[in-house]
Symmetry: C2
């Protein structure tokens, strides 16, 4: 996973053996823009070459790319052109490229591949990447691919699949360096030099007891800076953050952040060392989960632009139908005041403003609360205080917005209507502040993801309260009788 | 930043010299819950001890905590109790705790401290943490603190402050290990063993040319596994990802993810090595920026629960006023159809449904587009394709929701009204799909953050189109004349 090369430098080192028209053409195309994205010109050049069936030219263009960029290229090309591109660059489609590929695009490309061919690709990958690929497959396909793997790889992957999805056990690498406590720094260095088949992907050495339970961790820099004669037990740090294999990856990421870890030991239920997780995998996971809250709050489901349309449809339409339900409740409230609206049509003109402002204020507070919950900043110790804080912000917001809209309404329509809308806006923004904190906190206490369902409820509350407060006050104040 | 200790283990090792009532009391209080958050009971115990003025007891409770947990504790205690708590645990408030503290809480605690006292705290910190603290201060305060620092620290911090905010130059650590190309592995190990004042916080060794420009990188594991006589030039990887000091930290994080880096060299405009960035800092940054999109899309500004109320108010009210403006446009459209509503009050009852469904569909598409832009998945090469994809999802969603609401309306009110609302819903959901992609893409092309302003525009478009399509169709269809 780390022997990646900077594509910029790679390009410079490209063998200049044949300098012809082709090379001049290539030199003109910058493949990355200043934001490290593939340029439109480069993608077009590849598509043109694929279209013309000039496989040599395609390979020449794609070869200098970093595996992550090759994966991006495949995603950027329209779905119908991907098989031809895949065929032209078959040799460049390494395990590393496949593991970087969006899962939906990969599924599509794999559709016609035999289980044997997929197994061959899996064997090229690191265990954790192979697991990430195989876990997404349907069960029958999964079994077929596993059957084609060589026994050792199969055992490792089956073992990983026995842990829950998105757990440390699926994420970890099995390759690591573990040594007993009694050796010296010199012994350790000799051991590392003599065993050519040890992984090179390690940043700390784990020290274990005879039962293979971790007793300490050694940063490689400490080893390098210590004389050979010193016992490893004097160099290692005994206090370490151990990750249980069943821990959820989001929780693992929070630990890495809190304790500023570069790598950590993963232990099984018996406390035995079974793998390690490194910070580069955590960076990947956090980036993935980063946008999830915004997507979940908007009801956009997975929100992947490569997802099959039918899947996007079914994820999103559910949310829209739920929203239709809440909108109907608002409509029922409006219907209760039908007579008032018939007498004073200005009520119909102004009522969406009250609902809309409340909805916005509620979304703001909710976003703040969801964030604070995710960062472990909002706990039982300060819920009441945060609620009271948000109420005070809501009152300030409410009074400001109410003054603006109340004044304008009084001026354009009539003073009493201005008073009614101002009071309704204050009531609704305060309701929004209350609901924006309370709803996510309640979901969190019930062990539900506060980001998912909160916004349906908060919007329902602010819409209903907006129409009810405004129309109800209009009737109660005697504006319409 | 890495010598952090697992609080669980620390607690076990707590000296058991005095076993009295105090110890029994403490043993009963678990300070962390299963999600690694401070328990309510623990926070209450600390507050009680502070209230009773029992500083010894406070120290006894807080001492076993990890610095990050001490910072959490200070945040969880109400603002008015923080000075007393801070006084009781003054010795435990190390640079590490202060650097973990929320900036608003820190500002508050520092209010009464002299510049000299703040400088002393800064000198305990790593340069990057000290920079993070000092960059948030007002200019006069900043100058006062800098003047109190010893010359070497001051120079390092002033140098970091000369780079743009949130750039690699502010984030990097200046301490690193750099060696010339001609030495052997043995020379390197001797150099590391002989120089006690070198940093221990390094995971790779940078190889530089005589002008101090990086020519290669060596993972420590490669060094440990290679015989002493091998030249470093044969072990190092020549292709490396160099980070310009002026690069934005979000861009740095994307590079770390794309190339799965653990550390990277930071270079100045002349290509000279001036610092390093490690993956633990990147984990911190991504976690911080992770929730930002959701907060920005909701207009909640910084969205920090520790922010002073006045600041939260001013950030959020701006957004609500902007929203008021867009709501007024919707109201103007309704006002155009006042006569129709007076004749058929069902229009007023149903119109918020059309606007609300459109708003939701727009928010979904927008969240997807903002996410794809942030992940570099939506580029010039595939904008049109993604737009067309979203249109097809929108059509499916539109037809489904339209059938439901149209059917219900036809049944409850009248068939023609059912047709009108169904067509209006389809139009508005398709508009939402179009706007949800187009608005963020346009902001991105204009080099504006697509998360910030998109939702005001998208909501304005879907609200206006919702009311216009529904009321306009009602009139055009002859339902009302």
């Amino acid at each position: 996973m780390t022997n990646r090369e900077d594509p910029t430098l790679l390009e410079e080192r490209r063998p200049e053996d044949e300098v012809g028209e082709e090379d001049v053409r290539e030199a003109e195309i910058e493949h990355l823009d200043e934001d490290d994205r593939l340029t439109r010109e480069f993608v077009e050049a590849v598509r043109d070459a694929v279209y013309e069936g000039d496989e040599e030219r395609v390979q020449e263009l794609v070869e200098p790319l970093h595996p992550a960029d090759i994966a991006d290229l495949v995603e950027l090309v329209p779905a119908e052109e991907r098989p031809a591109l895949g065929k032209a660059i078959a040799e460049l489609m390494t395990g590393e490229v496949i593991s970087e590929l969006n899962e939906h695009v990969r599924d599509e490309l794999f559709e016609d591949l035999s289980a044997d061919a997929v197994a061959q690709i899996a064997e090229q990958m690191e265990t954790d990447d192979a697991v990430a690929m195989i876990e997404d497959m349907e069960e029958a396909e999964q079994r077929a691919v596993l059957a084609e793997l060589d026994p050792e790889d199969r055992a490792a992957i089956e073992d990983a699949l026995s842990f829950p999805e998105e757990s440390a056990g699926r994420l970890m690498q099995r390759d690591l360096v573990a040594v007993p406590e009694h050796i010296t720094v010199g012994n350790l260095i000799d051991y590392l030099r003599d065993n050519a088949d040890l992984t090179t992907e390690f940043w700390e050495v784990f020290v274990v007891d005879p039962a293979h339970r971790p007793v300490g961790t050694c940063q490689l820099s400490w080893i390098l800076r210590t004389p050979r004669s010193v016992p490893i037990a004097d160099v290692m740090k005994r206090d370490q953050t151990l990750i249980p294999a069943t821990m959820d990856q989001e929780e693992v990421a929070l630990r890495f952040q809190k304790y500023a870890l570069i790598s950590a030991a993963v232990v099984d239920a018996g406390g035995r060392l079974i793998g390690q997780i490194t910070a580069d995998d955590i960076v990947h996971i956090i980036q993935e989960e980063a946008g999830e809250d915004a997507l979940l709050m908007s009801g956009a489901g997975e929100g992947d632009i490569n997802q099959p349309i039918r899947q996007s449809y079914s994820e999103r339409v559910r949310w829209l139908i739920a929203n239709l339900g809440t909108a109907l409740i608002a409509s029922l409230i409006i219907a209760m005041f039908g007579a008032a609206i018939e007498k004073l049509v200005a009520l119909a003109v102004l009522m969406p403003i009250v609902a809309s402002i409340g909805g916005n204020a509620g979304t703001q507070t909710m976003a703040v609360a969801v964030r604070a919950l995710a960062m472990n900043q909002l706990t039982q110790s300060n819920t009441v205080r945060v609620l009271w804080r948000e109420m005070r912000v809501a009152m300030l917001n409410g009074v400001t917005v109410a003054a603006l809209i109340g004044g304008a309404t009084a001026f354009i329509f009539q003073p009493m209507l201005g008073v009614v809308i101002a009071v309704a806006v204050v009531i609704n923004i305060i309701t929004a502040g209350l609901a924006g904190v309370a709803v996510p906190v309640i979901f969190d206490r019930l062990d539900q993801d506060p980001a998912v369902a909160s916004s349906v409820f908060v919007t329902m509350i602010t819409d209903s309260m907006g129409f009810f407060a405004f129309l109800g006050l209009a009737v109660a104040s005697g504006l319409v009788s």
